[in-house]
Symmetry: C2
């Protein structure tokens, strides 16, 4: 591979371990006259992909275009077991059918970035982990020490704070590492919080397979979410899903704080390098209103996941709705009052018209002054309201509802 | 069971957890009209039993005589795996055949204390552990936390001293504990150093089987070995094996320091309680020469593992050989010099005539003045000697050798 192309592939990667690992593995694959094998883990318990996931997927796509073999690993083994302590109620075991459905959902979204028809192999780690018996497990565990596991940041912190670590948790990084042995991967893509587990894979390729140097571990920068503070994630509700409607994608992007713009330009758009640099320079020297730049980013994102027409329409919708405050009746979502009691709290009314947000999120919105009834701001979540036809409720910047029969 | 008999069973037991566990389990078995189930682990990697093991076996025999079901558990599963880190060279994996032979050897020796024809069942933990897959192992490990495992004394010490603990080592107590689930044992007999692992069995019976209180754990006092300091063990070479010749048993017992006598009277003899008490009182008030009491202990031990005639003969042999220094030619073991070089070091010569001792043990014996050539003490392990027929070598108190053609 030409040096120039390698440099292009390396661009934007946050961490490469070992440092020269990309060049080495590319050279090795070329020497052995075979495609580079890239491992990419899919978590079937969290099948909703968002722009944060897309950061890695886009880099993966670049590798795919150089002819690399992408191995999408479905972590169905652990998904089928769940959390044996029963402490983590968000991770109940999934059935075979649920895993299948989730994996397909995951793929459908992934297909918006990766070309699934080209050099992509989908494998399940139950294929090898299910075959391991107790003796095999002991042999695997013999390859690492407790002190090594406790180097993982979250283990170290919990151990120091006397927060229980169940014994089986210490096994999970070893399983993920063993997947790399089974796949004989050259490179593993992982989030920053997966670095430790990926490096276990590197070590196990060395100790079990006798490789002089195990897989190279690559991680992309984390994308901060809509709140501008935390990593984009579903549980923080600060995300834009890859399959969200165009209007939502556009509106949500318009809501991000200005200081997020440089990293969003880098990580979420597909502008060429020069355009990105110009936009960031414009921002820096104040030549352009940040709102204009945000609009370009929003249109670019919608164009990637929908198309240019949808982007234009979403822009128009946004301006009608929010920026120009044109309270066009047609744009209020009609919500039936059927079944509601005669009197209801503001919070319960908001939850009735907008079931997508959690009650605690809605309460925060009310208390922060983001909710209005018939044009009047209301900040008492527990004020009593009589739901009547025609009552208009505004929630946040983009939620417009009107009660109907 | 009568209270009196229970008290007799409890006598001499060092630890019972929980305190009232013996009474409770005996009552439970009686209520359910079934024999008490007692788990006793056999380690097929260490098949040589000595008087230290017999302490527990004799208590087990008492339970057996009350009608309890003895379950002898062969730990063949781990024996067949060995130590996966490869660090512990003293624990290489055993073959199926070696395990069989060792288990039989173990039983042969055990049969000197336990009546193997009465309420004894022999089981192997591979029967259930081999059937466990990775998922089962994870579920099992989910039942304990790292902090709980680190309460085990040796883990805690190694962890504090930064001595590596391999991950698989944390699993061993869980396996041993799971054996108690598989056996549904009421009581587990374990050495003092096995207490932790046995208590894991108690906990797992509670968390997996839902028992209100898991198995009762019983441990007997440790017997100190010939050196009077350390626990009797093969690796310390301070033991008397249950199958040793009568003369060796007698001579070794006569070699123990006087201060060991009270515990040896308690733990190794089968005198009745009154006789034991009298002997210990005699020792205390100095009424009898300790050597005389030692002789009674030695004869009692030989009588248990051989018979009364053998005990008399061993006593006579001992007095001829050692106490009266009667260097009767017939009692020198004849060792051929065939194959020896013309000149040999004292140490090599000792190793030639007595291959049972390690070279380092022999060197210490020489340097401590316990070796004589033709009646003359020699303390230089590397002095050169020309091996000739008729040369007499004395090693320690009981090794008498004569070189022959």
């Amino acid at each position: 591979m030409e040096k120039e192309l390698i440099e292009k592939l390396k661009k934007g990667i946050e961490t490469i371990v070992p440092e020269n690992g990309l060049e080495e593995k590319i050279a090795l694959a070329e020497k052995e006259n075979r495609p580079l094998i890239i491992k990419f883990g899919m978590d079937p318990t969290a099948p909703d992909l968002h722009l944060g996931h897309a950061v890695g997927l886009k880099k993966l796509r670049e590798f795919q275009e150089t002819g690399a073999q992408i191995v999408l690993l479905v972590g169905d083994f652990t998904a089928a077991i769940g959390d044996p302590t029963g402490r983590n109620t968000t991770r109940p075991p999934l059935t075979e059918e649920e895993i299948k459905v989730n994996a397909q959902t995951y793929l459908d979204q992934m297909g918006k970035v990766i070309d699934l028809s080209k050099n992509v192999k989908i494998v399940r780690n139950s294929d090898w982990l299910n075959k391991m018996n107790f003796g095999d497990v002991l042999k695997l565990l013999g390859k690492a020490t407790l002190a090594q596991m406790l180097q993982r940041d979250d283990f170290a912190k919990r151990f120091a704070a006397n927060i229980p670590i169940s014994l089986h948790e210490l096994v999970y990084p070893m399983m993920q590492g063993y997947d790399s042995v089974a796949l004989n991967s050259d490179i593993e893509f992982g989030g920053r919080d997966q670095l430790f587990n990926c490096l276990v894979g590197k070590t196990l390729q060395e100790s079990i397979m006798g490789k002089p140097v195990g897989q190279t571990v690559v991680s992309m920068p984390l994308l901060r979410g809509l709140d501008g503070e935390m990593k984009m994630s579903k549980s923080k509700n600060n995300y834009i899903g890859l399959t969200e409607p165009a209007n939502d994608m556009f509106g949500k992007t318009m809501s991000i704080p200005d200081e997020l713009l440089p990293e969003w330009i880098e990580l979420t758009t597909n502008f060429d390098a020069e355009t990105k640099a110009n936009l960031i320079a414009d921002l820096k020297n104040g030549a352009v209103n940040p709102m204009e730049i945000k609009k370009k980013v929003a249109k670019n994102i919608v164009t990637q996941y929908h198309d240019a027409t949808a982007a234009d329409e979403a822009e128009a919708f946004f301006y009608r709705q929010v920026q120009q405050k044109g309270f066009d009746d047609k744009s209020f979502e009609q919500v039936s009052i059927a079944g509601l009691p005669n009197e209801i709290s503001l919070l319960d009314l908001c939850a009735h018209v907008n079931s997508k947000e959690s009650k605690s999120a809605l309460r925060r919105l009310i208390e922060s002054g983001a909710v209005a009834i018939d044009g009047e701001k209301q900040t008492d979540a527990y004020m009593k309201i009589t739901p009547t036809t025609g009552l208009k409720i505004k929630i946040g910047k983009r939620g417009f509802f009107e009660l109907a029969d």
